[in-house]
Symmetry: none
C-alpha cells in the first residue's frame, strides 16, 4: 500500500552516467553565450537540471569545467579529421587541404562549440592558463596538421615552395574569423554571412589567390618597417596620436 504523496516526484534522481555529459553540454551553451568570466556555474547547473553542488561533484572548478569541454568535445575533432584523411592518402594534397577546411566547418565551426574559440580569443589575456591550454590542445594540433599537408605538397612539388608554418596560420584565420563573425557581427547586423560561400571563396583563394598575371614585386614589402610591439603611449597623450 503506497501513499501517493510528493514522494512520487523525488527531489532528485541518481544519474551518475549521464550527468557529466549533461553538465558539459550545458557548459558549452553558457560559456558560449556569456564567455568564461561571465558564465555563472549556477546557470550551467540549472540548464543541466542539477544543483550547483552537483557540478562540483564532477568538475573541481570553473576552469576545469571549461577544459573538460575542450578535452571532451573540441580536442578530438582534429584527430577525427586526421583519421578520416589517412584513409585517403592517395588524394592530392590540395584535396586534403580542402577536405580539412570543410571538415573544420562541419565538425566545429558550424556548431555551438566554435563559441569556445571566440571565448578563448577574448579572455586568454585575463586567464592565461586557459589560453595556453587551448593553444596546446587545439590550435597547435590544427596548425601542425595543416602544415604537414602543406609540407608534403611542397616536397612532392605539388605546391610552390612557401613558408608552410605561417601559411598554415594564414590558412586557419578565415575559419576563425568566420566563427567569430557569426557570433558577433551577424548577431547585431543584417550581414547574414553565408558560410558556404565564404568557405568556397576561402578555398579558391587558397589555391590561386586572385591569380594575377603580374604579382607585385616581392621586395616591395621591405619598405614597411614597423614591428610589434609598438611603443605604448602614455595615458596623458592625446588619443588621436594613436
Amino acid at each position: 500500500m503506497k501513499h501517493c504523496t510528493r514522494q512520487d516526484t523525488p527531489r532528485w534522481e541518481r544519474r551518475k552516467e549521464d550527468r557529466p555529459q549533461e553538465i558539459l553540454c550545458a557548459a558549452v551553451q553558457v560559456f558560449g553565450e556569456k564567455g568564461f568570466a561571465c558564465a555563472k556555474l549556477e546557470e550551467v547547473a540549472k540548464k543541466a537540471g542539477v544543483s550547483k553542488g552537483t557540478v562540483y561533484l564532477y568538475y573541481p572548478n570553473k576552469e576545469e569545467l571549461l577544459k573538460s569541454v575542450v578535452r571532451e568535445y573540441v580536442s578530438p575533432i582534429v584527430n577525427t579529421v586526421r583519421a578520416e584523411q589517412s584513409q585517403q592518402q592517395n588524394q592530392s594534397c590540395a584535396a586534403q587541404i580542402e577536405h580539412a577546411i570543410w571538415q573544420w566547418w562541419q565538425k566545429y565551426g558550424s556548431t555551438e562549440l566554435s563559441a569556445i574559440t571566440k571565448l578563448i580569443l577574448n579572455e586568454s589575456a585575463s586567464f592565461p592558463e586557459l589560453g595556453r591550454f587551448f593553444y596546446e590542445e587545439v590550435i597547435r594540433a590544427w596548425w601542425i596538421y595543416l602544415q604537414e599537408i602543406l609540407d608534403k605538397g611542397v616536397k612532392s612539388g605539388e605546391f610552390s615552395p612557401i613558408d608552410t608554418e605561417y601559411a598554415a596560420k594564414v590558412l586557419c584565420s578565415p575559419l576563425v574569423t568566420l566563427a567569430v563573425w557569426k557570433r558577433s557581427m551577424d548577431v547585431c547586423c543584417d550581414t547574414h554571412t553565408d558560410p558556404q560561400r565564404y568557405i568556397k571563396a576561402h578555398v579558391q583563394w587558397c589555391f590561386m589567390g586572385c591569380n594575377p598575371k603580374h604579382p607585385p614585386n616581392r621586395n616591395h614589402t621591405a619598405r614597411f618597417g614597423r614591428i610589434w610591439p609598438y611603443p605604448r603611449q602614455t595615458p596623458a597623450k592625446a588619443p588621436h596620436g594613436l
Copy 2:
C-alpha cells in the same frame, strides 16, 4: 597662500579638458585586453592617472564608458580607412592590394586602435548598436574598398574571375586574426607571432595561394550542406549532436 593664476599652473589648466580623453585612452587599452566583463574600472583609472571617482565624473557607468570608448575611437579608424582609399590609383591592382594590406597593418593593426576591433568583436553581441555602427562605418568601408580593387582587377583581366565580395572578406580575415592574436595568444603563450612574416605569408597566399598543379574539383564542396544557424540542442540530448 598659493596663487593659482593661469601663468603659475599652466599644466593644470588644460587638465580639465584632457581628462575625458585620457580616461578613454586608458579604457580602450583595458577593455581591449580584458574584455568588458573583466575590465576593472580601477585599472582604467590607474592607467589614466586619475582616481576611480573621477571616471564616474565623466562617464555614468561602465557600460557608458565602453560606448564612449567605441564612439570616440571609431572616428580615427574611419579616418584611417578613408585615407587609404584614395591612393595608388595608377598602380596595378595587385600592387594596390598589397599596399592596402601593409598599410592596414602599419596604420591600424599594429597600433592601439586595433584593440577596438577585438573589443567590438567581443561585445557586439551584447551591445548591438555598437556593432552596427562599427560595421557600417569601418568594416563595410574597408570591404568595399578592397572589393573595388578586386572588381577592377577582374574587369581588366588582371585577376581571375572570383567572388569578389566574399574574397574581400577572406582577404581581411588574416589581418583581423593577426591583430586579435597579438592581443590574446601572444600574451599568454610563447608564440611570438612575427607580424612581418605573417603578412608576407598572407600576401603570397593572396596572389597564388599554395599554387597547386591540380586544384581540387570545385564541385567537391557541394557535399557539405549544413547551414547556419544550426538548431540548439537541449541539455538532455546526447552531446554527440554537438
Copy 3:
C-alpha cells in the same frame, strides 16, 4: 546466487558490530588533527573504510559523533590513569613522580589517546559537558594522584614545603604541551621535538629547576596585580589596552 551463511563470510558477520568502533577510531584521529570545525565527515568515513552515509547510520550528526568519540575514548583514558595510580608505593616520592611522568608519556601521551586531550582543550568551550566530564574523570584524577605523592613527600620531609595543588598542575603542563605540540607545531614546522629529551629536561626541572645559587625574592611577584578575567574592550577603544 550466493549463500551468505555465517561460515561462508565470517568476516562480514562481525563487520556490523565493529562499524561504530571503526568510525569512532577514525573520528578521533580526524577530530584530533583538524578540530571539530575543520574535520570533514568524508575524511572520517574514508579513514574508517565506509561511505559517508554509513557514518550517519550510526551517529545522527557531526556533533553527536564528536560526543560519542569523547565518551567512548575517555573511558580507556580513565582506566589508564587509574592503573597508574596504584603502583610503586614503596619507592621514594621523587621516583614515583618520575615514574608517573614517564608512564604518562608511554601509556598515554605518545598514543592516539592524547589526541583526545587536544580535542577537549579545543572544544570544551563549545561543548561544556564534554569538558566537564573529561575534567572530572581524567584531569582531576591525575592531579589528585600527583598531588598525593607531592603531599606525601612534603610531609615526610623529602620535598620542600610547596603549594602542592598548583605544583601538580604545573607538573602536568609540560606533558600536555608536548602532546599537543607533536600534533600541531611539529606537523607544520621542522621543529621535530624530541620527546625523550623534552621529558628528561622536564624531569630534571622538576627536581631542581635551574638550581640557582640565589633564588629571586619571593615577594617580587606581589608587584603584578592584574587578575582574570580582564574587562573586554570595545572595538573603538585604543588597542593598546589589549
Copy 4:
C-alpha cells in the same frame, strides 16, 4: 541653512586612520572566540562597525588579517620585555627569568591576545602556513630569549648545567597551558584557576622544582624506549588497542 534630513547620519564615515586598529581589535575577539576556521570576516566587520568590503580594504584576506594581528600585537611583546630587561642587566639571571614569566602573563597571557596561542595550537595542522608564521614570529623569539638567559646563568655558574634549549621549552609550557586552560576548562568547569597562584607555583618550581633530598637516578629514564611517532593503527582494529 541646513536641512535636517537623514544626511545628518551619514551611511558611513571616512576614518582611514582608525580603521586598521578597529578591525584588528575586532579580529582578536572573533578569532579568539571562534578560532581561525570558524571566524567569519563578516562578524569581524560588524564588530568593527564596518562592512565586509572594508576589511578587505585593509587586509587582503583572512590569513593576512590574523597575521597582522600577530605582527601588530603579539610579536612586539617579546621585544618590549627584552628592552625593559636590558636596562636591568645587573640583575641575577633568576630574577630575569622570573621577570620574563610575569611579563609574559601581564602583557600577553592575561589579555585577550593569548587566545591566539590556543587558536594556533588548534589549527596549525590545518593551516600550516599560519603555524609556521606564528612559530617563527612569536614562539621561537620567546624560546631564544629565555634560552639566552639560561645560557648566561649556566655560563656564569649561577645555574646548574642543564639542557638550556629544552629547558626553555619546558619553562614556557606552563604559561601556554595556563592560557589555554583559562579558555577551555575554566570556561566549562568551576575550576577557576588562580593565575597568580599558578605562576607563583611555576616560578618556585623553576628555581627548585620540589627540591628533593635524594633526586632519582638520572639513568632511570633509559628504561623507557618508545619514541615518537608511534605506529598508526588501522581503523579496523579495536580502538582499545590504542
